[in-house]
Symmetry: C2
Subunit: 195 residues, 2 copies
DNA sequence: CTCTCATGTCTAGCGGTGCTAGGATTCTTT
DNA sequence: AAAGAATCCTAGCACCGCTAGACATGAGAG
């Protein structure tokens, strides 16, 4: 049965290669440039091989989106861990989110714009996405204030950040104002408990 | 020279027809279903006619987006006019925005997702878009609070609404929660001057 | 009223897309 | 070593956005 295992390993390996290559291509030239032909050529296989791993292009984008979610969760957790005190943590996570969106536009699009079919507040919500939300909930939920459900508050926070990322990209608002907007938002929305 | 004028009138008429048909198709079956062939067939002309009016498909989408902007501005102004008192006005405009996004997803996408090439905070920002922003500024700017630039505050507000629209669509969050989120946001962000 | 010419429109086709059927090849197993 | 199964590639489908060049239709001159 070792042969079987080896094959499965190699298959999984190739699947990783596909997803990573798709992401690279997207980051370099945009998702429009990620065609099945180019992708197949890059991984040095023919097109049908892609379809033996994924049902179609959308599913490949979806896989890239998954990766993006886990990364986003990591980034958020790292930012929280690297900051001292609640106020600093909140700001750090928010900034990390905005940076993530700005620095990985293709990855961000894979998650939100292009419908790889990611559902959110649902049972079918993929695990990585849930985890990314959980990572933000851990920090933002702390400053929801009395009588406000932490998840609801986090949704509002996330919503703001998401809008900030997409509109900032389209309108190329200078960074200085982005920071001001963030401060304004946190200053009024977040309730910091007295220590 | 009347012949010339008649021709120009007919041309303009046809251009309107193209844009409206494109919008209808998009609202019915999504933007992917709006192909130059289908569009041409619908207006009962051949494809090249489309290209005599617009440089390409993106420009057609852009034209639809323009229409969407002017409509958005109208909707916002109507909502403001239909409400009594500042607090009610703010809520009404916000609700109108969310409704607009929910009810005209294709139109909304034309404005924000699909890059019809709409720039925002720039000199080249198209007039209708500027006007839509102005419509919101008229209301939201009133509750920015002391020491906060009205435009900056409006941007934050808009950003929140935009995120709400896009995330709500992906995650199909029930309407009741959307309302709760809006209340939470307004309750903390808006500063209502004492009357 | 006819001829000329320009304007406007369509047919046909290019290179590209996502995706797939069916033949060829390789590898495992008996 | 032969048989069978698993794997992969070639070739092609229907469709996409877009355009060159043939064609028709209309306006203005004689």
């Amino acid at each position: 049965m070792s042969v079987q295992e080896r094959k499965e390993r190699e298959r999984a390996r190739r699947e990783r290669l596909i997803v990573e290559t798709a992401r690279e291509l997207a980051e370099k030239d945009g998702w429009d440039a990620v065609t099945t032909r180019r992708l197949a050529e890059r991984i040095e296989y023919s097109q049908p091989v892609l379809y033996s791993h994924f049902r179609g292009k959308r599913e490949i984008i979806g896989a890239v989106a998954m990766d993006g979610c886990t990364e986003l969760a990591q980034v958020a957790r790292a930012a929280a861990a690297g900051a001292e005190g609640l106020r600093a943590k909140v700001t750090a996570v928010a900034r990390a989110y905005l940076d993530f969106g700005r620095r990985n536009p293709a990855l961000y699009d894979a998650i939100f714009q292009l419908d790889g079919g990611l559902l959110f507040a649902s049972d079918e919500t993929p695990e990585p996405l849930k985890d990314a939300f959980a990572a933000m909930l851990e920090v933002f939920g702390e400053v929801a204030g009395d009588g406000v459900h932490p998840a609801l508050f986090t949704e509002v926070f996330w919503t703001f950040l998401h809008g900030q990322v997409t509109l900032a990209r389209a309108g190329r608002t200078p960074e200085e104002f982005t920071d001001q907007r963030l401060e304004l938002f946190i200053g009024r929305m977040a309730v910091f408990p007295p220590d």
